[in-house]
């Protein structure tokens, strides 16, 4: 660890090896999570599904992720990232096999709902990577982890339909394709447990600090924070309603009411957690000077992440079907690949977004990126059968570049708001990404695809307005003289 550059091919370096092991674990969770959209035509055919039912299935896929993040976060605190990541891989593999062998729509719905858990893998790796890299490299390492892992969504689009149609073939080809992914994930889960360590050998171990709600600085921010938590439960309630007899009829009336009550209970529980953490502050009215930060910053970033990561998840879910229906004569494999290409640029765009943000200023980069996202989605909304295929592909490609750069840019700012609370702020922003995904996919069941892209464009535009209120976080101002000596070290 005495070199200060990250040599990604130096596998003898334990940190680098751990990074590779970890992003691949994340990659596999994404393959499993997004094994659904590219296989749409095959699955709908097997079950004679209505478009409504299919849309519901896509929504269910991301529903459980929101609460799962909290569960997984506390499990990691207790058992360490190594055990939890391999556990998650194996557990999800079992669920995916169950999904692949489902015999009714109800079973499909149930296992897809449970598979939402796999989307919470991100949190685990972030923790693991932060244990292994010093300050100099941790930003880049986490960018690689996030970006390369997200690429799993693209990989699913590229490989699964191919496996299903050309390798296995037949009506049940999709089942075997998913099963293959599941078995690979399970084997990898075991390998992960055997090779990866929670911390570098010989590193001093500190008892992890207890985390609950986020600490905020004043009463106004407190209520702001509480209100910001409402949408998470609201969107789940909408989903429950959607499954109720009033709509799709997957759940009985009684179950639906039970779910409402559970959601309300969860909200009250979370409120009590927030209250507990902030009790001292509420009594005094504000926190000490050095602990102050503006919650507004967190909210803006959360919105930006909702507009970028949230829309990415939603778009990756609907894009293969969109291509399939828009362009006549496209094979399942081709449509899936085109859809998957949206996640393709993750490899470079996400780390690139962080780099741009470091280099050209936070607010400026974020503004450009969100403007790009808005334009990109407007462009996508215009795609119709008259477009040449390569132009449509180009539009998707360009749009995805901005979307993923946006994810990277958000996470480049997160640690600068309040170092001490980086984990919790990242958690909230991440949760908003999932809220976005769930919201967009739920809306997808009500509106047509063009309106859907318009909605994404509008969300990004709102984000663009919000970002103008983002305060440029200050860090060091260090100047390096010609002789290499440093002067003028100031901290905000």
């Amino acid at each position: 660890m005495s070199t200060h550059r990250l040599h990604l091919l130096d596998f003898s370096n334990k940190s680098v090896a751990t990074l590779h092991f970890t992003w691949f674990a994340f990659f596999l969770t994404f393959v499993m999570w997004f094994s659904l959209p590219p296989l749409k035509p095959l699955i709908t055919a097997s079950f004679a599904m209505t478009p409504q039912q299919w849309a519901a299935l896509l929504t269910l896929n991301v529903a459980l992720t929101i609460p799962a993040r909290i569960v997984v976060g506390s499990l990691v605190d207790k058992f360490g990232p190594r055990a939890i990541y391999s556990g998650l891989l194996i557990f999800s593999g079992v669920l995916l096999i169950a999904f692949a062998s489902a015999q009714s729509f109800e079973q499909l719905a149930l296992f897809r709902f449970l598979l939402g858990f796999v989307g919470a893998g991100f949190v685990i790796g972030i923790r693991l990577v932060s244990e292994w890299f010093p300050a100099r490299q941790v930003g880049l390492a986490e960018g690689i982890y996030g970006g390369w892992g997200n690429f799993g969504a693209a990989a699913a689009g590229f490989t699964l339909p191919f496996l299903a149609i050309h390798v296995f073939g037949g009506v049940d080809g999709w089942r075997y394709a998913m099963g293959t992914a599941a078995i690979i994930a399970m084997i990898y889960g075991v390998a992960f447990y055997l090779t990866v360590r929670n911390t570098p050998k010989g590193s001093t171990y500190f008892k992890p600090k207890k985390s609950g709600g986020l600490e905020v600085s004043n009463k106004k921010d407190f209520w702001f924070y509480v209100i910001m938590n409402v949408p998470m439960y609201l969107i789940l309630a909408v989903l429950a309603w959607k499954m109720s007899p009033a709509n799709l009829g997957l759940l009985s009336t009684a179950t639906t009411y039970v779910l409402y009550v559970v959601l309300l209970g969860l909200f009250i529980f979370q409120f009590s957690q927030i209250l507990r953490v902030n009790k001292e502050m509420l009594k005094k009215g504000s926190v000490a000077e050095h602990d102050k930060y503006e919650f507004k910053q967190v909210a803006i970033l959360s919105w930006a992440y909702l507009a970028t990561f949230g829309s990415e998840i939603a778009v990756v879910s609907v894009l293969p079907a969109f291509f399939m229906t828009t362009f006549e004569g496209l094979s399942v494999t081709q449509a899936a690949m085109l859809g998957g290409s949206f996640a393709f640029m993750n490899l470079v765009a996400r780390p690139g977004g962080g780099w741009v943000s470091d280099k050209f200023g936070r607010r400026f980069s974020m503004s450009i990126i969100l403007a790009g996202v808005a334009c990109g989605y407007m462009l996508l909304s215009q795609i119709n059968a008259s477009w040449p295929l390569y132009l449509a592909f180009g539009a998707v490609f360009a749009c995805s570049l901005f979307v993923q750069a946006g994810c990277g840019a958000v996470f480049a700012v997160v640690p600068l708001i309040k170092r001490r609370m980086t984990g919790q702020i990242a958690g909230l922003a991440g949760a908003y990404g999932n809220v976005g995904a769930l919201f967009f996919l739920t809306m997808n069941t009500f509106i047509d695809i063009h309106a859907f892209f318009w909605m994404l464009a509008i969300t990004a535009t709102i984000g663009l307005v919000f970002v103008q209120f983002l305060k440029e976080p200050q860090g060091h101002v260090v100047e390096v003289n010609e002789d290499g000596s440093l002067h003028k070290i100031e901290v905000s």
Binding site: R136, T204, Y205, G484, L486
Partner: protein, 572 residues
């Protein structure tokens, strides 16, 4: 250390007069230091009443007070308050007792003694005899000490305990949390014997606002009640508690900004970075060169922790701990030549491989080398223990093998007894050491002591001899007492047949899961490492009870039940 500055403020008044006696045999005294001493030692107030039946009474009480007030402040900063005070009192007691024994007039140098030490937000009381310490909180006057007297008949009481009466002295001591506005009263029996308790309380309550008039009026009041004895009283009021508010503490701490991440070629405060020696998530370690071309090592905090106060406190403390420990086996802290522009500290540069590197190159070490290295490490660790400091994080990475022997190069996890007592507004990090090397008690919340460092040393020696861990890979996973109890020691002879039986036994003892079963002192362990312990010359059969404790007890219990059953059926 400046961030621990105590802001303890008190008002104080005292008076001591002979009263109706010809000579004043009472002595009162106080020391109210400023700056660093106020933080590390606090304020000491003491009263002594020379026992009147002895002629040397006056001298005895003076010796006790003067000796206590000077010696207490001379104890090492790192000793705990109670330890410091007790050692001083015991040594004063021995000297008084010695003088009584040697007095050609057969005089006894006897005195009562009560002392109050105020430190940070805690008060400590040390008490022998019938002088008293009272506390007035709100409207309650509470007697905090118990008179050491024996009633013989209605009119006569005898002092049952006094300084100088016996070579062994039992001292009552307790500590209490202070509150703002608390008033403490120390008095000799000339005051509190004669004034009725209710009257005394009313008097204190009435005069609480002005301590000067309180002591001035107390003496005539006692005389009014026909006190025949010397009259002494001390009063102290806590005006401001000693714990610095969190804002203050952090402001002092964050005066120095964190240095940025540095690259070779850059320089800071006239120190040029030559090489990055080590980087971790918590800190960076650079090899630097000063203007006179001396090589030094610079440690800088990781910017991830910029607003983590507990981390900053620990970092500041590292340099302070290091500066206090002088030993050939411990790296020296180098004071910066220029004033620092940011937060870092410097140590001497010790060329040589770390123990990790050495073990990587050589595999395992010869028994002679390993024991010699361990001896050097023990010397270094004892320098820590002498200053009431535990290292807590001994591991191969923290040990550099220099030409002069092994050197301990890190203070990052040290625990200092005296400092922990100063309550800090920061929630401190709980260090659990390095999983493979730290003693079990860190993780099952047992009592941490010097024996915990002994355990880590023994793990190191075991690794030097075998390249393995003494409890296998499961050790680093155990987190509670139960899982530790399930572990069994793997004999070093299994991995390295050259390890003699007696050395293995010495390792096993130092590696006991229970701190109490380890060696009492590192010197005993070292002796067993260097010379075969006669008890362990040859493997002898272990008693069954030691070999299979649980089975034996289960068998015993079962046979008890069987016996009971037989007895039961016999009867019926």
């Amino acid at each position: 250390m400046d961030h621990l500055q105590s802001a303890l403020h008190i008002s104080f008044a005292q008076k001591s007069e002979a009263g109706r006696k010809p000579e004043n045999q009472d002595t009162v005294g106080a020391r109210i230091p400023e700056g660093n001493l106020l933080t590390t030692k606090g304020i000491a107030i003491a009263i002594a009443d020379g026992v009147s039946s002895s002629k040397a009474a006056r001298e005895a009480s003076q010796t006790a007070i003067a000796g206590f007030l000077s010696d207490y402040y001379a104890t090492p900063d790192t000793w705990r308050t109670q330890q410091s005070a007790m050692r001083v009192i015991q040594s004063l007691n021995s000297s008084l007792w010695g003088r009584s024994q040697n007095s050609i007039y057969g005089e006894g140098y006897l005195t009562t003694f009560s002392a109050l030490i105020l430190k940070g937000d805690t008060g400590f009381i040390f008490h022998v005899g019938d002088t008293r310490v009272y506390r007035l909180r709100d409207n309650n006057l509470e007697l905090l000490t118990r008179d050491h007297t024996q009633r013989i008949d209605k009119h006569t009481t005898h002092l049952s305990r006094a300084m100088g009466a016996d070579p062994y002295l039992e001292v009552d001591m307790h500590s209490l949390e202070l509150q703002r506005g608390d008033i403490f009263i120390l008095s000799s029996d000339g005051i509190h014997e004669q004034i009725p308790a209710a009257e005394f309380k009313q008097f204190i309550l009435g005069e609480r606002d002005n301590l000067e008039t309180l002591v001035d009026k107390a003496l005539p009041l006692a005389l009014h009640y026909n006190s025949e004895d010397n009259l002494s009283i001390q009063v102290v009021r806590i005006d401001h508690l000693g714990t610095a508010g969190q804002d203050d503490a952090v402001q002092v701490l964050s005066r120095l900004p964190f240095p940025p991440i540095l690259s070779p070629g850059q320089s800071i405060d006239g120190l040029r970075i030559k090489k990055i020696m080590h980087e971790s998530t918590r800190s960076q370690v650079y090899l630097v060169e000063d203007e006179k071309n001396n090589l030094l090592v610079m440690k800088t905090p990781s910017e991830i922790y910029q607003d983590d106060k507990a981390y900053i406190e620990r970092f500041v403390m590292e340099a302070w701990i290091g500066a206090r420990i002088q030993s050939a086996g411990v790296v020296r802290i180098i004071p910066a030549a220029e004033s620092r522009s940011c937060l870092y500290y410097l140590t001497e540069y010790i060329p040589g491989p770390t123990l990790t590197q050495l073990l990587k190159e050589r595999g395992i070490l010869s028994i002679l080398d390993a024991v010699e290295l361990t001896e050097g490490l023990i010397r270094g660790i004892r320098a820590f223990h002498r200053k009431e400091t535990l290292h807590q994080d001994l591991k191969p990475d923290n040990i550099v093998i220099s030409t002069k022997g092994p050197m301990i190069v890190d203070f990052g996890s040290c625990w200092v007894a005296g400092v922990q007592e100063i309550s800090s507004p920061l929630e401190r990090d709980r260090i659990l050491g390095t999983l493979d090397y730290s003693a079990p008690e860190y993780r099952y919340n047992g009592k941490i002591s010097a024996a915990s460092d002994q355990f880590s040393l023994a793990v190191l020696l075991y690794e030097m001899l075998t390249g393995k861990q003494p409890y296998g890979s499961n050790y680093s996973k155990a987190m509670d007492l139960k899982s530790f109890q399930r572990l069994t020691y793997i004999s070093a002879m299994k991995h390295n047949p050259l390890v003699p039986y007696w050395l293995d036994k010495a390792l096993e003892k130092a590696l006991s899961i229970y701190p109490n079963s380890r060696y009492d002192a590192l010197s005993e362990w070292l002796q067993d490492l260097k010379r075969p312990n006669p008890a362990w010359l040859t493997p002898r059969a272990q008693p069954l009870l030691e070999r299979y404790p649980d089975k034996i007890w289960k068998l015993l219990a079962a046979s008890g039940w069987i016996a009971a059953a037989i007895a039961f059926f016999w009867r019926h």
